[in-house]
Symmetry: C3
Subunit: 327 residues, 3 copies
């Protein structure tokens, strides 16, 4: 697929080749709108695969997908493993934390070695922002990099599966108000959503949370900053709650998670401030009773488990699309 | 297959659907005799698969089997992985101890999330008795749960592979005396065997061990309790030794494993108390010289390695049968 | 393939059956020259598989390859996993360190159990020299053992992939001078290379390093011992650098890795002592700036990444050859 409007400066976006085709997925930032829709459309086609008797398509048969999780995340790794398996790829899980890194080898040497084993796709999770970019700059033309979360920077497949979920339930982005609630400061999920949703043309994207957890420069990203939950979710079509990283909450940013829940936890009562047909999202895993009440999570407006299901299809879409293009 | 005699009260057994078909394997307790024989017959057909040049059948092609080992057991996990692979399923191993559980997510939230990834079978190992039942109550109708060991409660595939082994070598259960020797108190293997063997109509099942390791209420399960090895295995057709959990033996229950071996360890000399053609079993891993002497273990009456081989076929049978039914 | 000249005493080499065919790969020591060339020729045919759209051949379809890594090595395990997968085998990775071994089971009991699961190939890594031999002596006739590194003893697939690399770039062994530089004392890689290269008829094999790291009895293996780098690599066609095990360098053998680099580190300046078209090798992972300078490693004479690529093909060759023969 040629994305015509990005042809003018393809060399500036490391995710696209000179034809404007997606070769890596590193961030939702800078992804052309048409590319995002291509991913969502492809995911839609794959959703039916998961309902079949034989849940596989042979698109990546004989291809090798390497899960390189420098930061441990069983859940995310599993979703990529399932997605790759359903595309008939061979999946190699590298417990990279226990591996060569501990022998003092540099990231790029590790990558060069794995590339030499004729890898096709690297799915990379790393605690340092930008690591997948660095890798993408150094791999051979036939190798594709998919960012599965880097530092606080980006988690693009999460952003895309969230966009898929919104499109699925709301149809069109043009008139939507999306409120992203919680610890925006530490959230790569929030960042990836903001880029995707503004590109997709949401009417309004809001970030909602205490001053210590919502950076003031967020307004520059084209979003509205709210420090009051009622103001933040009033009239919203989508209320996207974020995971509160308890391990980070012992410091100066927040007195306690209970304190957070008192002001920003989503209850059924508070949910009435949003539109009557608002959907409620969460990237998981959920701290029940902190960022979201059990009654909301298990209630009729929660689409949290749909997000998980759609996530497999979106990751199948991303991998099949990048594997079809070369640098 | 309709198990006619269980149709009257199918709603009471969570392992069977309303047609009396096996949809989960949670325990050998309450399994209809016909269902057990169906599993053993199916296993017999699969045994020949392991002898073929290509050791695979396409029965579960495109199905996803999730190994959820909340309690680590490489050996048991491996047998399920091999069994699933030989049925052509895709296997996802979840190192669940390192995963979401450690992020404070509840068991049922973890299960709901994994179900949303379009899982077909959950193989569950858990240190708490009853965890697989809880999971089976909450999964979607298309998902099947196989208990790979829960607390001290049950280890049904072990019970079934033991039943298979006995049927293989002895033909018929009706006239058999089976002696289960050792730490019956802590043994889910013993419990699963007792339920299977009494249902299958063994003439006599005995549990044999020191008073501290054989609960006195065992008699209520329809077995004979013996605290003397000679009495316990006299005339037995099958001597099933249990693993002594050394890690539990430092307490008040047993002075030492040497003390246990002195009274209950199976030697060739003592084995003469059993029938001349008695077979000797052990679920593994063996403490040589404690519950069983090397000369017995490596001798002509030991069928310990046959148990391992049959275990693969029995697990193939269980997974293929439950996957063929819906709730 | 019948290796005629080894028929006379096949019973003495546990790697060959009575027809002189390779059934296990335990060491390059004692491997007939024709067998080594058979492996290299087969690897050459497989190399093209890695360039195909679908990188798989069905040679080991339905076979079970067990990766038994008693000593952790993610990198080596990965290469075997990829090789087996490209042969269409099913791969079971056993985190054996966390498994039955920790329950006090003996190595041979573990192996007997895994054999009973109808394994076809065991890929074994063990910290104790000779462990793969012990295993090979005890497995059933249909099971094949491939040594993936045992203690300081042998790492035969590394030796073979190095031989492949040399043959690929230099064509013929007859006139070659190969210098193996570094910590020869601790290196199973060095040992496996020496046996392979002398069998293949290299004109001269030299081992080069400080007296504390090159055993004096090396001369008995038919190699020339040099304690001076200039002398050691002068006129060499191949300079094979070894990994310096930093964790071993804190003791009495070497003042520091910097000290080693000063005398034996390969720089572009020193590389001029070798032939102008000399190739530079390293088994990885590399300590840049210690055994080899970055300018050399990333320079035109380095074939380090080719070694990695060839390694996959050589491991495919070894597994497909042994699986085709029976004891």
């Amino acid at each position: 697929m040629t994305v015509s409007h990005s042809i003018k400066k393809p060399q500036r976006n490391p995710q696209l080749n000179s034809h404007g085709e997606l070769i890596h997925l590193l961030s939702t930032e800078g992804l052309p709108k048409a590319t995002i829709h291509q991913i969502l459309d492809t995911a839609e086609a794959f959703l039916s695969v998961n309902d079949r008797e034989v849940k596989k398509v042979p698109l990546l048969r004989g291809k090798s997908v390497f899960n390189l999780f420098f930061e441990n995340s069983t859940r995310t790794r599993t979703t990529f493993e399932i997605a790759a398996t359903r595309l008939s790829a061979d999946v190699i899980n590298l417990d990279i934390a226990r591996s060569s890194a501990s022998k003092g080898e540099s990231l790029l040497d590790t990558i060069a070695n794995l590339s030499a084993m004729a890898a096709d796709i690297f799915v990379v999770r790393h605690s340092e922002s930008g690591a997948p970019y660095l890798i993408a700059q150094h791999v051979a033309p036939h190798v594709h990099v998919v960012n599965a979360g880097d530092g606080r920077h980006a988690h693009p497949t999460q952003g895309l599966l969230d966009a898929y979920t919104i499109r699925h339930f709301k149809g069109n982005f043009a008139n939507l108000t999306v409120a992203i609630v919680g610890d925006v400061l530490h959230s790569r999920v929030a960042r990836s959503n903001i880029h995707a949703l503004t590109t997709l043309g949401c009417a309004e994207v809001r970030v909602v949370g205490p001053r210590t957890l919502v950076p003031s420069d967020m307004a520059a990203m084209g979003v509205r900053v709210c420090h009051d939950l009622k103001e933040g979710i009033s009239g919203a079509d989508v209320v996207m709650t974020l995971r509160l990283q308890n391990e980070r909450m012992s410091g100066a940013l927040l007195p306690s998670s209970q304190e957070f829940a008192k002001s920003f936890g989503l209850t059924n009562e508070r949910l009435q401030w949003a539109k009557p047909d608002a959907i409620v999202m969460h990237p998981g895993p959920v701290n029940r009773g902190v960022e979201i009440d059990s009654a909301v999570l298990d209630g009729p407006r929660s689409v949290v488990l749909n997000q998980v299901t759609f996530g497999i299809a979106v990751r199948m879409a991303v991998m099949s699309i990048v594997a079809g293009h070369s640098a």
